[in-house]
């Protein structure tokens, strides 16, 4: 590990930052480093958001037997010789830019009766809160914008504030549909906050740390040199990871939990009265929230920036983080392409009757894991797997009781 610690590529971002700021006097130096971190996060995740919208539309298209957006090119690219074959379309890479220009130039409509201040603050607060969550994610070795002792707590404290933004959007619009949908959205966000937080408590317990850096460090070794110590590879970690991802789907209002926005059923939920740039801000906040939650899942369960195998450590840590993050984001898109939207009561049942009890069982499971440290790994693993799979099957069976494929008597 120490061999890779000071490899050129590994330390390159930090070296670059230090080279840019070291000539400044002491307090300014620190401030400039912070600013650089902020700008880097904004630039990288802003462009990731742009690309993600395109990738999502393309992947959804592929799943539905169509190519997705592939026309919008960028000006002058047709003149580049190595891009000539695309005829200026470059596989629709210009689409995010076109979308952005469209959003920016659209009319920004504020209802006359709306609460002007709240209507304005809501999207800004939403985006600010989802950007703030990026501050504590370790993107690579030595690449964490702010190193806090309780950074996991910070992450979820900042994330909790998005609920307020949703409320402000719904109430500030002075539209009864927006308000009702905001209430539904809040009910969803609050219900899934609980399993979200309970699902990572085992990780905090086992790692013995509330700091993301500490949690990543706790996952940075290998059993017998090839099985990584990632928490997702333990029974409780796997269950926690699944629960975390399901809750993250719900928290970021993604399909199949996109009831708050449900374009086809409720106009657009709390976004009904938003247009133009403010809508774009909400959209961006949604994607950034999804990215941040995926980043957190990578950090908590998938070993953060650690390489999966020791001999792969020559690849810089931030590349590993990016690979894992993108995999999870693709998973989000894949799920969106597959699953239909839940009904409101199913949504609530899933959280309160399934995820929360499973989280509590998982907590007990983690203590079993912790207390049986003397047993051989396989025995321990099997024991914990049984402890979590049995309630999963039982609760799942009670949840799906009486549910069967529908039979149509008259529509033969």
């Amino acid at each position: 590990m120490s061999a890779t610690n000071d490899a050129f590529l590994e330390t390159f971002p930090v070296t670059l930052r230090d080279a840019a700021t070291n000539w400044l006097p002491a307090p300014w130096n620190w401030l400039a480093q912070g600013l650089i971190a902020v700008v880097a996060v904004l630039a990288i995740f802003g462009s990731l958001f742009a690309i993600l919208t395109l990738v999502e539309r393309k992947a959804l298209g592929r799943v539905q037997n169509r190519p997705g957006p592939n026309r919008t090119g960028l000006p002058y690219t047709a003149r580049l010789p190595w891009l000539k074959f695309t005829e200026g379309k470059i596989f629709g890479l210009g689409q995010p830019m076109a979308d952005g220009i469209k959003m920016l130039t659209k009319e920004d409509i504020v209802p006359r009766e709306a609460d002007q201040v709240l209507h304005f603050i809501a999207p800004v607060a939403m985006l600010a809160m989802s950007l703030m969550t990026f501050a504590v994610i370790p993107f690579g070795r030595n690449l964490v914008p702010v190193e806090l002792d309780a950074s996991v707590l910070y992450f979820f404290a900042a994330g909790a504030a998005t609920e307020l933004a949703v409320f402000m959007a719904g109430w500030g619009s002075r539209n009864k549909f927006a308000l009702l949908a905001a209430m539904r959205a809040l009910a969803q966000l609050i219900s899934y906050e609980l399993p979200l937080i309970l699902s990572f408590v085992p990780v905090v317990m086992i790692a013995g740390s509330l700091s993301t850096v500490g949690i990543v460090a706790a996952q940075s070794s290998w059993h017998w040199g090839f099985i990584p110590h990632w928490y997702v590879l333990t029974p409780w970690g796997f269950a926690g990871f699944l629960i975390f991802m399901v809750s993250a789907l719900a928290e970021s209002n993604r399909s199949p939990f996109d009831l708050p926005e449900a374009e086809s059923e409720l106009i657009a939920g709390h976004l009904t009265e938003y247009s133009g740039f403010k809508y774009a801000l909400f959209f961006m906040a949604e994607y950034l929230g999804m990215t941040a939650l995926s980043g957190m899942a990578v950090t908590l369960f998938l070993g953060g920036w650690n390489a999966p195998l020791p001999f792969l450590q020559f690849i810089p840590s931030y590349v590993w983080f990016a690979v894992k993050l993108l995999t999870l984001l693709m998973g989000f898109i894949w799920i969106r392409a597959t699953l239909p939207r839940l009904r409101m009561d199913q949504l609530m049942h899933l959280s309160w009757k399934f995820l929360v009890p499973l989280c509590l069982v998982n907590l007990a499971n983690t203590t079993v894991w912790h207390l049986t440290a003397s047993l051989p790994l396989a025995v321990r693993w099997l024991l914990c797997a049984v402890i979590i799979v049995a309630p999963f099957t039982l609760i799942g069976r009670s949840l799906t009781k009486g549910v069967a494929p529908r039979t149509y008597r008259y529509a033969e």
Binding site: N65, P67, W334, T400
Partner: protein
Amino acid sequence: MLGSGLLQGLAVTAKNLVGSFHDPARYTTVEYPEVKEQLPESFRNFPFLVTDNATDPMGALRCVACQICEKECPPQCIYIEKSKDKKPDATGKPQLYPAVFAIDTSVCMSCQICVEVCPFDAIKMDQEFEIATTDRFSALLLNREQLAKPNTYFHQIRPTEAAEVDGRLTAERKAAEEKAKAAAAAKAAAAAAPKPAASAVPTATPAATAPTAPKPAAAATPAVPTPEKPAP
């Protein structure tokens, strides 16, 4: 177990996603302006006028301005003015022709009734669908020159029906010629033997109008279009 259905669904979409890159059956989209799908033969859009001579379309319109289509058109989008003079048609017989033939495509509902009632196979349904214009009044009112399209074009868009129509027309012409020949022969015979002439003349009269006579049967054919093979 709970979740197995979800996994099955995820497998289906994953197969589609991966398959769309190598399996044409899973990637059925045709990228339209560059690639155009073969239209089914029975696809129809707006009517056009069949002309037998591609070099002189106005001279060889099959339309004789009988105005049946104008009368039958449910939304009344056809407007015809008869010519004052007569022109020889494809067989050389002098016929009236439409001095003005206009179809308002903004009104036309593509019902194909004009095609079905036309006794001369002069109006057929076109397959041209890229008809968007920037002017919704004059540009959508198609006149005679815009409507006239050669018979070869008809063969191109609907080979089956065109062949059938052509076959019928030649058969009718041949029959008419034979009838006319027979009538001429009968006349000659009648001239030779004046007595039975009285019985020969009534049979000759329908023979002269032979091209129109079997129309009721012919008109039924386009109404029941030949079953199309689905486009591959």
